[in-house]
């Protein structure tokens, strides 16, 4: 709880900062998105990540999923030390002070090469995870769900150190970070808070302006157990051998507390003339059966002409669904438990791909509109990234249209 107190204090600094608005060392800024989404599925509701309990289903326009407002204060304490606080107001599953506070850290620039930060920062798990909510920052309407939708974390409480230097007319950045985080993971009926601790991450980036390469690697330890999984595990453990052979061993596979998970990503960008090519490959590899190995990617091509960007994007994610049919379980005797078990063990098994086209128009120096059209092929039992309205996991092709106006100030 001590760290929460620290953040509450830091947040109090953020809130009291307007009183010091006349001080030129304190700057206020912000970003936001007004977005509308239409998706044509009755079964699969579009959401930006697995943390959302609500989704955009067929028959209505959704204004909540993509709309948000971010406010930030930068306070220079000295030439080398500053405080940054940020809050993002948006629809969240469990609204709380903690969920709306996205950044609250002290930054110390020890030298031009070395930077230290302590407090609440944005997670650097994949290429865009640090600024995924700043829609004005990238060309697309939203980062590809196939890669980013599975990650619910918006902040990490801890510390990081970055070393930057020039190498062969480019810049090489090496960042080490550690900390802990928590976030909600939701289905239509259940929301669980997942906590991770002992986060240890390395981020490398080499940038030569017209091209860049990034590599991110992190390891995390699950710090708690989802209540719904515990309940199912308890029931499975009670099953006699003639109904569920090795039921105790199977029940233990539902538990994740103490298990480790690795996040890895390699990405690149290349600009030439009016064109930009971007690609990222990611992999989540947990040491528990409940969370399968998830391999994801996206590749996008953008053509820029004056203030207009036209883009196409392909993204996919695949993972192995958990299959207990080989375990000789007598499913007919326990249909409800079997269904709950199957849902639990396949929760993270996302299998789908999306093809997108879109158009971004910079309406002014600080405002842009983006229109994007997605066609998503969801495999059977592969709709983890969507909110499901019913206990049905059949394959489906979903068309989603997104329009948003993003801005910074």
């Amino acid at each position: 709880m001590k760290i929460r107190t620290i953040f509450i204090t830091l947040y109090a600094v953020l809130l009291s900062a307007p009183l010091l608005a006349q001080n030129q060392n304190i700057k206020f800024s912000g970003f936001g998105t007004l977005g509308v989404i239409y998706s044509d599925s009755d079964l699969y509701g579009y959401r930006k990540d697995v943390g959302s309990q609500d989704g955009a289903f067929s028959g209505s326009l959704d204004f909540k999923t993509d709309s948000l407002l971010g406010l930030q204060v930068d306070a220079a304490i000295s030439d080398d030390i500053d405080f940054i606080g940020q809050t993002i107001l948006k629809e969240v599953t469990k609204p709380s002070f903690d969920r709306f506070l996205t950044l609250a850290f002290i930054r110390y620039q020890a030298s031009p090469q070395w930077t230290f930060r302590i407090g609440r920062t944005a997670p650097d798990l994949f290429l865009l995870t640090e600024f995924r909510d700043v829609d004005f920052a990238y060309t697309w309407a939203t980062p590809p769900n196939e890669v980013y939708g599975i990650i619910p974390y918006r902040s990490i409480d801890g510390a990081d150190v970055t070393y930057t230097h020039r190498l062969n007319n480019g810049t090489l950045k090496t960042k080490l970070f550690t900390g802990m985080a928590d976030a909600e993971i939701s289905s239509k009926s259940v929301t669980e808070t997942i906590k991770i601790k002992d986060v240890l991450g390395l981020s490398l980036s080499y940038d030569k302006f017209n091209w860049a390469l990034n590599a991110n690697f992190s390891q995390v330890t699950f710090a708690n157990e989802a209540n719904s999984n515990k309940a199912i595990a308890t029931q499975v453990a009670l099953m006699p051998e003639f109904i569920w052979p090795n039921s105790i061993a199977t029940s233990e596979e539902l538990l994740i507390k103490g298990a480790k998970s690795n996040y890895a990503s390699v990405s690149g960008r290349y600009d030439w003339d009016n064109w930009r090519f971007t690609a990222e490959f990611s992999r989540i590899d947990a040491k528990v059966k409940l969370i399968p190995t998830i391999s994801s990617m996206y590749a996008g091509l953008t053509y820029q002409h004056d203030e207009h960007s036209f883009f196409m994007l392909y993204s996919s994610t695949s993972s192995n669904a958990f299959d207990i049919s080989d375990d000789n379980v007598n499913i007919a005797l326990i249909p409800e438990l079997y269904m709950a078990f199957t849902d639990a063990v396949n929760f993270y098994a996302s299998n789908q791909d999306t093809s997108s086209i879109g158009w971004r128009w910079n309406l002014s120096n600080n405002i842009a509109s983006t229109l994007q059209f997605n066609v998503t092929n969801i495999n059977e039992h592969g709709g983890t990234l969507w909110v499901k309205k019913a206990q049905d996991s059949s394959a489906e092709t979903v068309h989603t249209t997104m329009f948003n106006v993003s801005f910074v100030f």
């Binding site: 970003f31 640090e130 920052a137 930057t164 600080n366 910074v408």
Partner: protein, 142 residues
């Protein structure tokens, strides 16, 4: 009469040429030991990638605000990007707390005053506005 007409046309043409049509130069305080910078060093510095002078000392970029035609011309010539794209790029750095943005000055006069008082400052100007307190370290389109 013909002479007057030609003079008037030339005068009108000169007035019509925007301020940013003049060559832009990157300047530092005259007491800064740096004599010259190359294109990629200037990009790294103004794009927040590596905010350091070639001798390893810390640099403080200073510039006019978004309404400035000089700023628009500078980024267009330096990296071929509009101010909207520059702002999109900087929103990644700013709203993640990765880098400090350049210090903004409301007008040319205050920018020149800042540059004269801070040896770590670096900015850009039309060549004609370079004062005796400043030193040119890079010329755009050179």
């Amino acid at each position: 009469m013909k002479k007057l007409l030609i003079t008037s046309i030339i005068f009108a043409f000169v007035l019509a040429v925007p301020a940013h049509a003049e060559q832009l130069v990157v300047v530092v305080n005259k007491n800064n030991p740096i004599e010259k910078m190359n294109h990629s060093e200037v990009i790294d510095l103004f794009m927040g990638k590596y905010v350091v002078f070639p001798d390893g000392n810390k640099a403080t970029p200073v510039e006019l605000n978004n309404k400035s035609e000089i700023k628009k011309a500078f980024y267009s010539e330096l990296v071929g990007m509009s101010l909207a794209r520059i702002n999109a790029y900087w929103s990644r750095l700013k709203f993640t707390g990765r880098a400090r943005a350049a210090i903004e000055q409301p007008n040319q006069e205050s920018l020149l005053t800042y540059m004269s008082n801070d040896t770590s400052a670096i900015s850009y100007l039309p060549r004609s506005q370079v004062t005796a307190n400043l030193k040119v370290v890079y010329e755009l389109n050179e």
